[in-house]
């Protein structure tokens, strides 16, 4: 079978298009590259959506944590403690077991039946866990940045007569984001790496539609040879990480563009292990 044929059969296999059966014998390099690459679609799906939705929740939680009102602060602290203090792997298991217990037929609310079975699927259930998880970690980062917004910036805003929402929107929030960005980049990389856990926790890979590591371990199990499939998935992730760093680097340059001498400074990936 030619590589082009393999590509058209398996390139979208992870989302249910193309050949139904996975290769069972005579595995060649092309098959492994294509299928593992196909699985990467799921990693990107989980990573991007969780990051995007989690970003907004994280902002809200960070503000709540910084609030003087204990009714806002305490729940925010609890949320962050719960999700940062426990392993993501356990959160996946727990969420799955909890979602499975929901009635199959759906829940009656005001006479309407709300379907619940989709929540036990990986695309929804695991995504929710990832969103909440990254929201908690990012909220901690944003809160730290919020605390270190320079006093002078706030005084300057006061001097210009800015208050309330306007001050937050134009001074506090951009500065917070600028200060948090390197650590947030780190968190984004960790999140993308964490997406490989989804199909190793309880969430089933429906019709063997899994992520890249799912297929890599499939190949490694079938061939008893870990020296091909795992380096391939590792290579894909290095590329993904580099791409992520460059995208976040662009945003970082934009956030810092008003600062003297910041334009030339390229952002390098220094893992600070924030998690």
């Amino acid at each position: 079978m030619s590589c082009a044929q393999t590509f058209s059969d398996y390139a979208l296999r992870s989302i249910g298009f193309g050949e139904r059966l996975l290769p069972r014998s005579d595995f060649d390099l092309c098959q492994q590259f294509v299928l593992i690459g196909s699985g990467l679609i799921w990693n990107v799906y989980f990573g991007i959506l969780a990051l995007f939705i989690g970003f907004f929740i994280a902002n809200a939680v960070a503000l709540a944590k910084a609030s003087a009102n204990p009714w806002l602060r305490k729940p925010a602290n609890g949320f962050i403690f719960l999700f940062r203090g426990s392993p993501l792997f356990i959160q996946f298991f727990l969420a799955y077991e909890a979602l499975v217990l929901l009635p199959r037929a759906g829940i009656e609310i005001f006479g309407m039946t709300v379907a619940t079975s989709w929540l036990t699927k990986a695309w929804a259930g695991a995504l929710i866990v990832l969103i909440l998880n990254t929201a908690a970690y990012s909220a901690q980062i944003f809160h730290g940045a919020l605390q270190s917004v320079p006093k002078g910036d706030l005084e300057a805003a006061d001097a210009y007569g800015m208050t309330g929402w306007k001050r937050f929107r134009r001074i506090v929030w951009p500065t917070m984001l600028r200060l948090a960005w390197p650590a947030y980049t780190n968190e984004a990389i960790f999140l993308f790496h964490a997406t490989t856990l989804v199909f190793f926790s309880s969430f089933p890979a429906f019709q063997q539609r899994g992520d890249s590591l799912y297929y890599a371990s499939y190949f490694a199990d079938k061939t008893f040879n870990p020296f091909v499939a795992y380096p391939i998935v590792a290579g894909y992730f290095i590329l993904l990480t580099l791409l992520l760093i460059s995208v976040f680097g662009i945003v970082n340059r934009r956030l810092n563009r008003h600062l003297p001498g910041a334009v030339t400074g390229r952002m390098k990936y220094r893992p600070q292990l924030i998690r």
Binding site: S25, F27, F81, L82, R84, G85, S86, P87, L88, F89, I90, Q91, F93, L94, E97, A98, V100, L101, F192, H193, A194, T196, L197, F200, L213, A216, S217, A220, K222, T223, F224, N225, P226, F227, Y230, V233, A234, F237, I238, L240, T241, L242, Y269, P271, Q272, L273, I274, R275
Partner: protein
Amino acid sequence: MFASCSDPSALEGFAWLMCYLTSGTHLLFYASFGTVLLLLAITAPIALLFGFGGAMASRSRIAPLRWLGKTYTAMVRGVPDIIFFLFVPIALDQGLEWLRHQALCDSSQPVWQGNDFVVCAAAKLPLSTSPEWVHQTYGFATAVVAFAVVFGAFAANVLYGAMQAVPRAQLETAEAYGMSPRQVTRRVLIPQMWSYAIPGLSNLWMILIKATPLLFLLGVEDIVYWARELGGTKTNAFTYPHPDWRLYYFLAILVFYLLMTWGSEKIIGRLTGRLSRGQATLAGEAMRKTGGA
């Protein structure tokens, strides 16, 4: 365990629950919490040692050694740790079996035959005749190596940064006193490095705690394994029939981990305070001014 538990079907309520929670399999479940703690206790020092080696190699004046150190520390940056956890145990196992195959068997036979990895019976690790606990210990040991390799690379990153952060002036002062490079490293660099390394290392400790449930993926009978095993629906064929209780088991595990991280945070807070004493850092200065601690 208790004499009253001999006929569980006759029991009700609290008595039933007490008997249920002290059954033989539950005792294994409780022991598996010990497995997690054991993994932490063994892995942390080994990973620190790996990290120390990696950091020292990255600073070495001998180029190949430096490249080795840099490659090792760079290894974990772009690649998810789970890939290493899946890869290292199998690779290690096959590597050892291959070596034993070369030594003990007719090595004209290829190891890879089609899609199978075949070594002769004498080269199997552990030997198929060995008792169950040897298999378990072997599985656990390969898991420890996998954790140590990954967290060693993380630790190497942290320690390398900490060594770079020690003020240059302190090292120069030591040189001015006539210390050799080796003495400077041993007497000044390493003792001074810790206060810079503690934030990174404590973070790493938290990550290590939260990585321990991945033992389940390596086939070790850990808390996740037992939670799934015990929590699943038990029909009347079992001594203690019950519906699907996995949720409660995982909740218990969640609480265990929350307590672990919460306790660790408290201890690390104290340790940071101790190590900041007398340091030329913000925390150290604050401590000097208040005259406390």
